[in-house]
Symmetry: C2
Subunit: 178 residues, 2 copies
């Protein structure tokens, strides 16, 4: 099934987005082009406090022109390979929380066809709260929502952010089985 790269180049290099177009050989020997966006990778965290609430963030997403309810998340920094450390940083920057335990619960690939991004998902427990430290262009409201209610909001369609649906429903399964 493999597609073999023949050649290719970066056709757009922006501040965040880098578009690549490669010429590939298909399994039947024919040629096709593959156009995709490179990405440094990212992390997201389901932070659960001692009351069983998930710390969520509300922020405006310009691309969709509205506010989204999401779990804390962020991109890896250039050259960063320690995804757990990135998860702890993003959790602290966006919610002010530190945690005693961080559990990896799998990778989330937002759009396998066109986007190289891989988001590593974590559950954070044993939270203690401090100050937030958002990026200069981030405006974030924090909201604590009981895990059961948040899972219902994911199932009902009220929450549309992909990583939030996936990570919250995974966390609910995992915690229900403990």
């Amino acid at each position: 099934m493999t597609e073999k790269r023949l050649d290719g180049s970066e056709v757009y290099s922006g501040k965040i987005l880098h578009v690549m177009v490669d010429r590939v050989e298909l399994p039947d020997g024919k040629e096709a082009t593959r156009e995709y966006v490179g990405h440094p990778g990212a992390v997201c965290v389901v932070p659960i406090n001692e009351r069983g609430e998930v710390l969520c963030v509300r922020q405006f997403r310009y691309t969709h022109g509205r506010v989204f309810l999401e779990i804390p998340a962020g991109k890896l920094e250039i050259g960063e390979t320690d995804r757990a450390a990135a998860a702890l940083r993003e959790l602290r920057e966006e919610t002010g929380a530190r945690c005693e335990s961080l559990t990896f619960i799998g990778d989330f690939i937002p759009s396998p066809a066109i986007l190289g991004e891989v988001i590593s998902m974590y559950i954070a427990e044993g939270l203690s709260m401090g100050d937030t430290d958002p990026d200069d262009d981030e405006f974030i409201d924090i909201e604590a929502i009981p895990l059961d209610k948040l899972a219902e909001m994911c199932v009902s369609g009220e929450i549309a952010d992909g990583k939030t649906i996936a990570a919250v429903l995974k966390a609910k399964y995992i915690l229900d089985k403990r």
Copy 2:
């Protein structure tokens, strides 16, 4: 929290990808740029047969250099607004199945910050099988996996495709409550 568009333009126009860069005014009056990929939208389907199995597709995803196990999905055609019709088409093209009932279970937004894509998720039931009709550059293997097993594969991390994790876990919740 709203960000107001000041101006902007399409900075890259490819076969599939269209990159926009807009200058925006932030809630505090400062300026920032927002770089994002426009997208026509898409659909995905959890097709469940009379044995409680989900028809999945395995296909090579060049962007990630490996085969993914996913539920059937596809982009809307230019100008297409009937998402349910698109779901029926993609289901038929990729798996050969037609269905008696199609249930909308919410939207999945793969990457709210940088990608304009909205994937509408459906459950398809009452399946009858016919011939597949994949796109010229699509090489797809079909595999029927019991819903409970597939949900476990989503929870364990074996499945990484975002829309598959989200739609399958939603479908499991919804069908378990019936």
